[in-house]
């Protein structure tokens, strides 16, 4: 369960001032910048937008369809998170797949909450899903079996339908890490390809150090990103990248070295596209857990921050969760807490033209986890019931109504490259 949104499950109250919004609404200025530079982003709307309504011909518009997997022998789950979606542009891939996690409220109160993952394949049916995007059907053969596995993303493998998926074991497993076994600390890569001997498919563990490891993103090249915990009492998170070199059986892991000027205390990597661009979030020392989104793109680290839609334009706690081939970033942000009793709900954002736009499905909070190369977004919104159930969704855009556009020619400055030649003086444009 991610750090920013863990509190979203409990005790949220409806924000009375929010109107129900099914389509994207409003625009906020994105700050992708060095600490010293202007907070305005390239392509930002002039002035401060005090109106949260949809901006014609600017904000992308999405149609949301709820999704609940129909699983054999499993009653309809209370909660569904759609965690990832791959793309349909690999020659070997004939249909899109989504990943998700489901769980029931009853199990959450026990000492060992149970999560289950699923992978579902797009079909040609159009009802009740959005026109032009068939409702996915769960594919048990592609899904690691067992409880306490949190699958976050899957790639397009070279030989469809054997898409690799990545994730981690939830914190309530028991056994030690090993192939086919579950542990509270393992990152996992799941290969559904049956073994030639007819044995079970493979779960590969990814552990960095002796603390917990979690994987969140993977690409066509099977490069994974995530984070692991390190340090005294495993107190600090470190974003990293992992892959297997072509003719080696030993995977390699490399940390993301965010710029020293950011005073990073914890770093998390959540998404990677097929080009190798990575997004995530970090917290700074003394920041009280306030999250700042970041992106890595060809040597360059830059911040991604949503600003408050007021005249002050203060930064909001932001997580960048996914990025597609066009460089469109999606994620979540939080409005500031207005009183000690109410935790603000998360909000989704989708970039278009380098500017984030407020995108919510529902009124109680939205988490956007990922976006694929067809600009389909996935995530969940928070229901209005007592349990604040997670309601998974698939969001599609229509070019006629406004699909997101990639970022404009870069005018941001790299905050750093993480290499030993890096210094702030070298990075001015």
């Amino acid at each position: 369960m991610n750090l920013l949104l863990g509190s979203a499950l409990h005790g949220l109250r409806r924000r009375s001032r929010l109107a129900a919004i099914a389509l994207g609404a409003g625009a906020f200025v994105l700050a992708a910048c060095q600490a010293q530079t202007s907070q305005s982003s390239p392509g930002a709307l002039p002035g401060v937008n005090t109106n949260r309504s949809v901006m014609p011909n600017a904000a992308p518009t999405f149609s949301f369809v709820p999704y609940v997997p129909t699983l054999p022998t499993v009653p309809t789950p209370d909660n569904v998170d759609i965690t990832g979606i791959n793309s349909n542009d690999n020659p070997g891939n004939t249909s899109t797949r989504i990943t998700g996690v489901y769980f029931n409220n009853a199990t959450q109160t026990s000492a060992t909450p149970a999560y289950h993952s699923f992978i579902a394949q797009e079909t040609n049916t159009t009802s009740p899903c959005a026109t032009g995007w068939g409702c996915p059907i769960p594919d048990p053969s592609a899904t690691p079996s067992g409880s306490n596995i949190y699958i976050n993303e899957l790639s397009a493998a070279q030989a469809d339908p054997y898409n690799f998926s990545v994730g981690y074991t939830s914190p309530y497993g028991t056994s030690a890490c090993g192939d086919g076994q579950i542990s509270p600390t393992c990152g996992i890569i799941y290969d559904p390809t049956p073994l030639t001997s007819g044995g079970p498919s493979h779960i590969y563990q990814v552990n960095v150090g002796s603390c917990a490891t979690r994987l969140y993103g993977t690409s066509y090249a099977l490069i994974q990103v995530g984070y692991y915990y390190k340090g005294t009492n495993c107190a600090h998170a470190q974003a990293f990248e992992e892959y297997l070199p072509p003719h080696s059986k030993t995977p390699l892991t490399f940390d993301f070295h965010l710029p020293p000027s950011w005073n990073v205390n914890n770093s998390y990597a959540y998404g990677i596209n097929n080009k190798g661009d990575v997004v995530g979030a970090y917290t700074a020392s003394g920041g009280n857990g306030f999250q700042i989104g970041w992106e890595y793109d060809e040597f360059c680290y830059s911040k991604i921050q949503v600003t408050q839609n007021t005249s002050t334009g203060a930064f909001l706690s932001t997580q960048a969760r996914g990025i597609n081939w066009d460089g469109i970033v999606v994620g979540t942000y939080e409005e500031p807490q207005t009183n000690s009793k109410t935790t603000p709900p998360p909000n989704g954002f989708v970039e278009s033209g380098g500017t984030p736009y407020h995108v919510n499905d529902g009124t109680n909070g939205t988490v956007i986890n990922n976006i694929n190369n067809e600009d389909i977004i996935v995530g969940y919104h928070i229901g209005g019931g007592m349990h604040r159930d997670h309601m998974g969704f698939i969001g599609t855009c229509k070019a006629s109504a406004g699909c997101p556009a990639g970022p404009p020619p870069p005018s941001i400055s790299c905050a750093g490259t993480g290499d030993s030649n890096d210094s702030t003086t070298r990075r001015r444009p």
């Binding site: 020659p91 070279q158 003719h247 190798g276 870069p410 030993s420 444009p429």
Partner: protein, 404 residues
């Protein structure tokens, strides 16, 4: 008013004499630097006219090429990058890249000094052609323990087809898109990179087969390299090398064939890091330009692969360009040649070629890299048609290092 030396005290005479001596030394320095840059460099080159060669073969590889060398000093420097073909057939045979650190005192580098740096999940063969990663350039990290930064190309990454530019930043891989958005990522390659992470290479524009030289600066600033009027009607071009000062080398095809060019930056602001992602903002007037000519005044059949930072002597700067050329007998020689830029930004040199021929080569020696102390790296083909990498050190290297 007349002065007589006899009127000064001995202390004053000593002080005057010291000042005069210092002034004289400064003057003599100025005179030396004011001499013809070519003759100045020729004087230095005469003391390094022979080379010490070390063979480089990747352990288990059947064919090894060294494609770049950096300036890392100390007991572990310099570092080299290259690629090899592994033994075996079929899926076991493909290009990989490695970087290795010195010192190159052994005839063959120990296997422990090599590190594989190949893009993950790349097929060995595609449609019968050899597939894989070829890294072509390596920068110099300020920290000797830092992992390297490499630039090169990879074929069909993630089954996306085509040839892609790729950079390796201390373990992190990034594909570099073709600046021509319609061309996708295909038919691009990077051949050089400097300590500002600015890389050079070529890409192919959509609907054409001609290559266009370009540079890419993070993040995704792409600029076509355009040529001055002195290089008329370029048909195609490739940029092969860039040093840390922004000077570049490469090749260009004109009506009479391919020739090698060099561009020396006139100030500290080239290449620029601003501009668009698909750029026509390159300003050739920021450079002085020259074309390499061998002893027979022929400009062709040379390929300039690399350029170092070189020494600056007063108002004239000197760089060394390295590459290969084919002589009238069809023999391929490696070479280094000095090029210069005067204080008035006039390019010169490019004619005093020094051949580099690996002693075991059978007609082919190619130099792909040169560092600031004159070490070169490349590959040769022996009498058994085996391809081997090599590093060559000028025999006056110790003296040159002290001078620096």
């Amino acid at each position: 008013m007349r002065y007589s030396l006899l009127a000064f005290s001995s202390r004053k005479l000593f002080l005057i004499g010291s000042v005069v001596a210092v002034a004289a030394s400064l003057c003599s320095t100025s005179i030396r630097s004011g001499a013809s840059p070519l003759s100045h460099h020729a004087m230095r080159r005469a003391s390094t006219s022979s080379w010490h060669y070390e063979k480089v073969d990747y352990p288990g590889g059947t064919s090894t090429e060294v494609t770049g060398i950096n300036n890392l000093s100390g007991s572990n420097g310099p570092e080299i990058v290259g690629h090899y073909v592994s033994k075996g057939t079929g899926s076991n045979t493909f290009y990989s890249s490695f970087y290795a650190s010195g010192p190159y005192t052994a005839r063959t580098l120990p296997s422990a000094d090599f590190t594989d740096a190949s893009y993950p999940n790349v097929k060995s063969f595609k449609n019968g052609d050899l597939n894989g990663t070829q890294m072509n350039a390596i920068t110099t990290q300020a920290s000797p323990t830092a992992l390297p930064i490499l630039a090169g190309e990879v074929a069909d990454p993630g089954s996306q087809g085509g040839n892609w530019s790729v950079v390796y930043n201390q373990g992190l891989w990034s594909l570099v898109k073709n600046p021509d958005s319609l061309g996708g990522g295909r038919d691009v390659a990077l051949y050089g990179i400097n300590t500002s992470d600015i890389a050079v290479g070529y890409y192919t524009k959509h609907g054409t087969t001609n290559s266009t030289a370009y540079y890419v600066a993070p993040p995704e600033i792409n600029q076509d390299i355009t040529f001055p009027a002195t290089i008329s009607s370029p048909i195609a071009s490739i940029a092969y090398g860039i040093n840390n000062l922004g000077d570049m080398v490469g090749t260009v095809e004109v009506s009479s064939g391919w020739e090698s060019w060099y561009a020396l930056c006139k100030n500290s602001s080239c290449p620029t890091k601003t501009g668009s992602t698909s750029g026509s903002d390159f300003n050739p007037s920021l450079y002085c330009w020259g074309v390499l000519k061998n002893s027979s005044s022929s400009v062709f059949r040379t390929t300039a692969y690399a350029i170092n930072d070189g020494p600056d002597s007063g108002g004239t700067i000197t760089r060394e360009v390295a590459g290969s050329y084919i002589d009238g007998s069809g023999i391929t020689h490696g070479f280094v040649v000095p090029v210069t830029r005067t204080q008035t930004s006039v390019c010169g040199g490019g004619t005093a070629f020094q051949n580099i021929d690996e002693p075991n080569a059978n007609g082919v020696t190619v130099v792909r890299g040169v560092n600031d102390v004159g070490d070169v790296a490349g590959y040769y083909i022996d009498s058994s048609n085996g391809t081997h990498g090599f590093v060559a050190t000028p025999t006056g290297a110790a003296e040159r290092r002290r001078r620096r």
